[in-house]
Structure formats: structure tokens, C-alpha cells
Symmetry: C2
Subunit: 349 residues, 2 copies
Amino acid sequence: MSRVSDATAALIEERVVWLDSEMEAAIASASPDLELYRWARYHLGWHSQKLEPLSAADRRKHGGKRLRGVLTLLAAEGVGGDGPAAAAGGAAVEFIHNFSLVHDDVEDNDEERRHRPTVWKLWGIPHAINVGSNMQALVDIALLRLADRYPAERVVSAFRTLTHATLRMTEGQFLDMSAENSTEVTVERYFRMTGGKTAALIEGALRLGGQLGGAALDRAERLAEFGRHFGLAFQCCDDYLGMWGRTEVTGKPVAADLIQGKRSLPMVHALVSAPADTGAGARLRTALAERDVPAADGLMRELGTPTWVLERAEEHTRLALESLTAAELAEPFGGAIRDIAQYALQRDS
Amino acid sequence: MSRVSDATAALIEERVVWLDSEMEAAIASASPDLELYRWARYHLGWHSQKLEPLSAADRRKHGGKRLRGVLTLLAAEGVGGDGPAAAAGGAAVEFIHNFSLVHDDVEDNDEERRHRPTVWKLWGIPHAINVGSNMQALVDIALLRLADRYPAERVVSAFRTLTHATLRMTEGQFLDMSAENSTEVTVERYFRMTGGKTAALIEGALRLGGQLGGAALDRAERLAEFGRHFGLAFQCCDDYLGMWGRTEVTGKPVAADLIQGKRSLPMVHALVSAPADTGAGARLRTALAERDVPAADGLMRELGTPTWVLERAEEHTRLALESLTAAELAEPFGGAIRDIAQYALQRDS
């Protein structure tokens, strides 16, 4: 697995501390005596299953990488803004990502997240829905903390950016769930879905960084474009790995998407390329079980699906890096963003 | 059943049109081609189960009363502000109320809402969770529409008011769900729960109206106090009716809360008043079925529970009306709010 450079890792680590500190402050300003917030802290990787504080190393393991929030801060700094001042914005981005995970785990019936039981698995579906709604409110609590540091107009812009990202994320989630087991898929619909479900928040995270850092409109737009294409490339890679990645590293059985009826990019390509009136195409349109995976895999290789999926990932990676170059970020921030993108897109798990 | 005056009814009707028009505009600014929004429109009472537009009369029947949003507008106008300008704020209040209903129906396993199947019953739990999250994002979409009409500082204040209301609402929902079947209840905890679950949004709706109308801080605070006590009184009445109201009017079996293990105010009073080491108190602490209702009812009457619950409702009604008087609203808006409060608190269903 490729790694980011030591310099980038150090930049990330420092910014994760800023983000977590703003997220902590947002929660502390609510009613932290309620157990509800210990469950939120569990999901965020700060608490053990016994709801006791975790060590820094375990936090990293169970809390996720805070990739989106870090990108907001690096973008703000890359256009000449102040990182710690923008940290509440990055914290809001992370709350969006994490509330959606709490809800997605219910929606997808996923029992594990980051090597631990999901919130709904531990405390039930009704509470998990409410933990997610509460965390969606924490997004705005975090954004309001920007009002101490920025003029009101810029705070309103921050709300505008992240509200649209959240809206598009829920639209993408709708499209993803609606496509399950569907045979009427198109590549265009796939990219609309992924553009919402995965890319909208990364796009919003980068645009927000530009806005908070004081970038002119078109420079913030280049950052947003980078985010959009990075998000699309990321999902193409994720879908590739979901079909052909190594189980022992991803922690997921290969082809789990296929069996769940998810319309990931390999499946979309295969459905579009193998008409329903061919024997193989007809089989692909039935409900697949584990024993059908080798045949589906064989068909996809015949159709050139693995290569085609990787080409889509490469195309969006190229467009992402072009936009990043056009944004002309100051160093070391621009280089760190490039480093993160290349790490995320070259991972093998 | 008491009714509001014709003059108040006309004021309400006009404001519901403003609110619905702002809610429509918020949805139209999203991706209205997605079926997701037809489900939202169904929940909001605009669409039939076949997802076709409803007549105005049916909209009223299935869409709810828009009580909270109307109060925001009447408050704004009562302090000298412009109603249509504030309508996007009232629309945001209604989106909060309605997203919470979509989620509550899943959390409480309720199959009917306003005489029709709930969203989760028609389209499944995963989609219902996502419809709710999407509608929670529409709250902010509506609030951002205020930026065309108000300075940015006031828009940020509107976000602050409604974000805290939403946060407290989810905290109250947590307390409500956590209390189910609990025997460790207190009156204080009940009012903390209700203060979040029911009163926080009404309090926020009134405070927002004051803020948008340009009221000074302490006048907006009187309006918020009115909202808080009105919300508490409303829930006391609702709990009273849940135990002793008429089934044919409420559409709920009497004592449904009791059987579901909900800690409504009558149950809280009875649990606090009948110690666990008495025979009746011990029985009350077991899981109750329909056949246990007459005995529980008898015990509550012995303990003076009905009178005590009505006294709590009256106490908060009195405090609400005192705060409303202190807010010195212009007519006909102040009178209309008083009329709505008295109607809501004197209903028998």
C-alpha cells in the first residue's frame, strides 16, 4: 500500500487535533451529560464500547481518517487562510460524513464499521436514527462557531456550501438505494448517484476551505472541481476494490456488492455491455449468490470491465489533479492535498 | 371542541399559503425530478398515496396544521415585521417538525399518521430514514432563502435559534425513548424530556418570529417563554387525552401510551406517588397489557392523577399567557396567537 510522505502525515496529524478539538467543543456546548453523546463519541472513535475514553492510537483506528475535514483545512491554508480559524468548518464537514455513516449503517444493515459494532447494532435502530439526526444538528452547531472568527456573510456562505452538499448526499443515497437489484442502469445515472453520495461532500469540503481561506470565486471553484473529480475517482476505485480487492485488507468479502444487488460501477458496466437477451446477460440480471461470483467475474473480464473501471478512475484522477494545479495552492498545502489524493487513489484496500 | 375565531382562521389560512409556497420553493431548488421529493410531498400532505397532487381540502386533512410555522409569522408580524418576508423562517420550522415526524414514526413503529400510512410503511425504513435526513437539510435550504431579505447577521441568528431547537428536540427524543418501561422516573426528568421533544421547537418558532420581526432581545425572549410554556402545556394536555381522551376523536386507543411503556405525565405521577413496595405500585411497574388498564386507571384516580395533570397544564398555560401579554404584540396578531393557544389547550382530542 502506498503511503503519504512523512511531511504530509505530520500536517494531517496536526489538523486532526484541531478538528477533533472543534468537534469536542460543539458537543460540549450541547448537553454532554446525556448518554446520547457518549454514543456519538463511540461512533467518532473517541470512546470504547464500554463508553470509556480511548488512547490516541485506538482513536485513530476506530475514528476514521478525518480525510474530508483535513482537506477543508489544507485548502483554506493553501489559499492563504488560517487553519485553526477554519477548523470549525472542517469539523462540520466531519459531522456530515459521520451522521451519514450512522444512518447508512442502518439503511444497509451493516453490523460493523471500522472494526467495531455499529451504533444501531449496540443501541438499536430507533436510537441510531436519533443519534444521526442529533449529529446532523451538530453540523450547524459547528458552523455557528465560525461566527466568532468570520464576518456573517462568510458564515452564511459556509452554510450554503455544506447544506447543498448534504442535500445532494441524501439525493445520491436515494439513487443508490433505488438502484438496488435494478436492471435499468446507465453509466450516467451511476455518476449522478456517486456525484451525490460520495463526491458532493468532498466537493463541498474543498469549496468551503477555499471560501473560509478567502479565495476568489473561481479559485474556490477550481478547488471544488478537484473535490468532485477526486470523489468520483475515489468511488470508482472503491467499487473496483469491492470486486477485485483483497478481502483480508478490505475486511469485506470480495463481490459483497454483487451479492447485495448494489449497482457498483463494475456491475453497471457489465449490465450495459451484456444485453438481457444473451445468456450471460440474462444470468447477470437474476439475484446473484456467492456461487455465481466466479461466472460473473469471468463475464466481466471478457467484457473488459476491470480495465474500463480503472480507466474511469484514471480519467477523474487526471481531471482532479488538473483542477488542483489550476487552483495554485501555496506549499506545503497543495503538495499535501496531491499526496493525499494519490494515496487514496492508489490504495489496494 | 372549541374553535378559533373566524378572524383567526382567516389569518391562519393566509399564512399557511405563504408557508407552503416557501416550502415548495425550497424543494423546487433541489432536484425535484427525484421520486424522493414526491415522498416528501406525500408526507407534507400535498400528494396522494399515488403521488398525485391533492385538493386544497385534502391537503389540510393530511398535511397537518402548520401550527408552528404560523406562530413564527404571527410573532414576526406582532412585533412589527413583515409576514411574507419571514415565511422562509416559518417554512424551516415546519421542515424541522416534519422531518422529526418521519423519523419518529420509524422509531415508534407507528403505521399511521394523519389518517394515512407513514412513509416507512409505504417505502421501507431505509428510505424513510433518508427522507428525514433530506428534509432536515431542507430546513437549512429554507433558512438560506432568508438571505435575500435580511442582513447576514439576522440570518445567522435564525440558524442559531433553529439549530439549538433541533438539537434539544433530538435530546428530548433520546430521553423519551430511554424512559420507556423505566421505573426510575421523576417529574423533573419528564419536563426536561418534554422541554426538548415538544417545547423546544415551539419556543424556537416564537423566538425566530421575534428575531425576524426585529424585536429587541428581551421582547423576543418573552415570545420564546410563551412558546416554551405553551409547548409544555400542550404536551400535558396531550398526555391527559392519551389516557382519558375520547378514542373516536383522537384516533388512538385510550391508554396506548400505558401499554407501550411510554412515561407520559399520568404514568410519571402515578409511579412517583405509588411506591414500589405497595401492591398497586408494584403492579404499575410491571409490563401492562390492555386488561390492566382499568386497574391502572382506578389507581390513578385514587392518587388524584387526573387533577394533578390538569393543574400542570393550567400552570403552564397561565405562564404562557403571562409571557404573551408581556410581549405586547400588535393586533390582530397577538389576539390570534392567544386564540390558537386557547384552542390547542382546550381541545378534547
